[in-house]
């Protein structure tokens, strides 16, 4: 042993405080050399009944299925049919085109707020297709592609975003903080992390009732630092809840790089080990890998083997929200350099490599979706955009409780609505 009491104090360095810093800042050349991209197909795929103790290396690998040539390789290939692949592509493209239009709508003053999923569209789309109608997603605000994959009406999205008279949430909630129970999409809120434990409770309830529905929950890399994250994982582990707990590690939390959430010390997937549950680290820009990891975790959950933590390794290609300007804190060209590519392009290339897609069909799809989005958005604009139209102010006083008490009744009267 190196240490001894006598040596103590001798030649000790002064302590110093370590403040993590990203590799590059605006003006620097983007540098992703710290990121190793393992070959697609290289990770083994353990049986779902494998004990956690035999899977402790999984969090340090990266599950990838699509290789550079757009081929699906290795044991994690989910072997999906072409229709499913095309449904995924459609959902991702629809998300991207919709995001673009709504981002512009914000610039035009039609909405107070917007957030894009740019570069992360594979995750919601894949999970929406892989999970079942009765399952429940406890989403983050970058999960629009789930709703797209499940054909949530565009007009309802637009009305919510414009906070107009037909807003399905009746003007009570910030744009994009949707709730869509029928689509397996739990109510969003501005607070990050505070619904991760709801996913666990919902899953426990399903197990309590002897059902077969499972839950999936999402947080961002930055949000893993909240106590809620730990509490959700603890309950999931203790009661073996049938839940998939996901971290979208998109490298940034507003202006803070993932090192501020601890990424300099280990992977996010490794957090699973603290709870004795499997932790998968997955290429989040690889639609097939996302599908496959989700299916694996879902089957574990459905077989009463308990929860799985998945880190989706991805990149937030746009700003945090309409309130953000990412060029203030990272090189503007970073997104283009992201070593895992664009999830949409990669799935497209795969379909083309399969002979199940081509440039013409892609263009036609884009045109079709653009038209659909334009139509929905125009229809919503006809109802009205922010400030031009809003639900009846009486809605302000509804649903505080199941039944209003005298305060609500009096105040509604005072407000004259």
């Amino acid at each position: 042993m190196e240490i001894s009491r006598t040596a103590r104090g001798a030649n000790r360095p002064a302590l110093s405080l370590h403040i993590p810093e990203p590799a590059t800042r605006p003006g620097d050349v983007p540098d992703f050399s710290r990121i190793t991209v393992p070959e697609a197909g290289a990770m083994p795929c353990p049986d779902i009944a494998t004990p956690e103790a035999q899977m402790r290396d999984m969090p340090y690998g990266l599950i990838r299925v699509l290789d550079e040539k757009g081929r699906a390789v290795g044991p994690w290939d989910p072997r999906l049919d072409e229709d499913t692949l095309r449904a995924g592509l459609r959902a991702m493209l629809k998300t991207r085109l919709f995001d673009e239009r709504m981002f512009r709508a914000h610039r035009q003053g039609k909405t107070s707020f917007y957030m894009k999923s740019l570069g992360e569209e594979a995750i919601g789309a894949a999970q929406a297709l892989m999970l079942e109608a009765g399952d429940m997603n406890f989403p983050s605000y970058r999960m629009l592609s789930w709703l797209m994959a499940r054909d949530y009406p565009l007009i309802d999205l637009c009305n919510q975003i414009y906070s107009n008279e037909r807003d399905p949430l009746r003007g009570r909630q910030l744009p994009i903080l949707y709730s869509a129970r029928e689509y397996g999409f739990y109510s969003l809120s501005g607070n990050v992390g505070s619904r991760f434990g709801h996913a666990v409770g919902w899953a426990m309830a399903s197990a309590y009732k002897g059902g077969d529905a499972i839950a999936v929950g999402h947080v961002g890399d930055g949000t893993t630092a909240e106590g809620d994250f730990h509490e959700a994982l603890t309950f999931a582990s203790v009661y073996r809840a049938p839940v998939i707990l996901c971290i979208e590690n998109n490298q940034w939390a507003i202006s803070s790089f993932s090192g501020i959430a601890g990424a300099g010390a280990t992977t996010f997937a490794a957090k699973a080990i603290a709870y004795g549950m499997p932790g998968l680290r997955v290429d989040g820009n690889d639609f097939l890998a996302v599908c496959s990891a989700t299916l694996w975790a879902a089957e574990r959950a459905r077989a009463n083997h308990g929860p799985t933590l998945i880190e989706f390794f991805t990149y937030r290609a746009a700003g945090h929200s309409t309130s953000d300007d990412p060029t203030r804190y990272r090189p503007a060209e970073e997104a283009a350099q992201w070593p895992l590519g664009d999830p949409l392009e990669r799935l497209k290339d795969h379909l083309i490599a399969l002979g199940a897609w081509d440039a013409a069909r892609h263009e036609a799809l884009a045109a079709e979706l653009t038209a659909e989005i334009r139509a929905a958005s125009r229809q919503a604009e006809a109802v009205g955009t922010l400030g031009q139209s809003k639900p009846n102010p009486r809605e302000m006083f509804e649903d505080v409780f199941a039944e209003p008490d005298w305060r609500i009744i009096e105040q509604r009267r005072e407000a004259g609505v």
């Binding site: 739990y186 434990g197 603890t234």
Partner: protein
């Protein structure tokens, strides 16, 4: 009707509920095999199985978050927070999630959870086993807050709370668990068996939230209280020899404003009493409401008697606790004030 302590009455409510509603379940720290540190869940795990009544990790935020998720699924979870002092780690879940879920989702999801927690002082529990946090819940739109003062109400209110489709904070005055403590700590404890409200029906009944109980009618002044202070006020009224009307609010959200207003309009005088520290306490809201609605009937300043604006100090239990003497003094001041 059998005599029950408040503990037995609460236990009976839980028993009735677990027995009749397969979607009702209980969890919290030490509530399973052990039956809770105050024994409110005693015997329930044995009777209904660990699936219906089980221990949880020490994580108040996690307990409430999990309960909200279960509620969203369709269950009716009843959770225990071991001491109300320890409810604060769950405060964000209660305010940002439980209280807001129905509103923000336009009624797609809601939160039929009941959060039981022993609260209040009088047991030499020191700073962290004595606090009364009701004010920080009463201010939150979307939460209901209930505080029983006797076994009969405790059972009926708890059943009503559980059956609510909105989140309810159910604060149990732990000093009353075993008897109607009136603040005379140096006198022998009276048991619930000797109190009319210690008689509790075996089966199902509810006491609707938002209905106060007039504990004592009177003409000279109105005393507003809840929890342990109901009994302290009762003693103070008798000792002061004043014909005061004593109102046990029973729930502070929803509040039975009509009963309060009718009484103060009748008496023209009002004393408000709570254990929580005074500044920013729920007494301020009560005082404001009474003043707004009874201004022209008031013949004296509304008095507030409350815990001092200090943390709850262990050795000074009876110096801090607003006992019958302090209440009686305020009552006399109030009645003697000239209009």
């Amino acid at each position: 009707m059998p005599a029950m302590t408040m503990i037995q009455a609460l236990n009976s409510a839980l028993d009735v509920k677990l027995g009749s509603d397969p979607d009702a379940l209980i969890f919290g720290e030490d509530v399973g095999y052990f039956g809770g540190v105050f024994r409110v869940t005693e015997g329930l795990q044995k009777k209904y199985g660990a699936r219906r009544c089980f221990d949880s990790p020490i994580s108040e935020g996690g307990i409430v978050a999990t309960a909200i998720g279960m509620g969203a699924y369709g269950l009716r979870p009843i959770v225990e927070i071991q001491f109300a002092d320890y409810i604060l780690p769950a405060y964000d879940q209660l305010v940002s999630e439980a209280a807001r879920l129905r509103y923000r989702s336009n009624g797609e999801f809601w939160c039929p959870i009941t959060v039981r927690s022993p609260y209040g002082g009088g047991i030499f529990g020191g700073q962290t086993h004595s606090q009364s946090p009701e004010a920080i819940f009463a201010h939150v739109t979307g939460l209901k807050t209930v505080i029983p003062s006797n076994p009969y109400d405790a059972k009926g209110l708890l059943l009503a709370a559980i059956e609510e489709d909105d989140p309810v904070i159910f604060l149990e005055p732990k000093r009353l668990y075993n008897g109607p403590f009136d603040g005379h700590h140096d006198q022998p404890l009276v048991t619930w068996a000797e109190h009319p409200l210690g008689e509790v029906p075996q089966g199902h009944y509810t006491v609707p939230l938002g209905t106060a109980r007039v504990m004592r009618e009177g003409r000279e002044a109105t005393v507003l209280a809840y929890g342990t202070m109901v009994h302290v006020c009762n003693a103070a009224i008798a000792e002061a020899g004043i014909d005061a009307e004593l109102i046990d609010l029973r729930s502070i959200v929803p509040l039975d404003i009509e009963t309060v207003i009718a009484s103060v309009r009748k008496t023209g005088r009002c004393v408000i009493v709570h254990e929580a520290s005074r500044y920013g306490g729920f007494g301020g809201e009560l005082s404001a409401l009474v003043q707004e609605r009874c201004f022209y009937h008031l013949r004296a300043p509304i008095e507030r008697v409350a815990g001092w604006d200090t943390p709850y100090p262990h050795a000074f239990e009876w110096d801090y606790f607003p006992g019958p003497d302090r209440v009686a003094k305020a009552l006399k001041r109030c009645v003697e004030a000239v209009a």
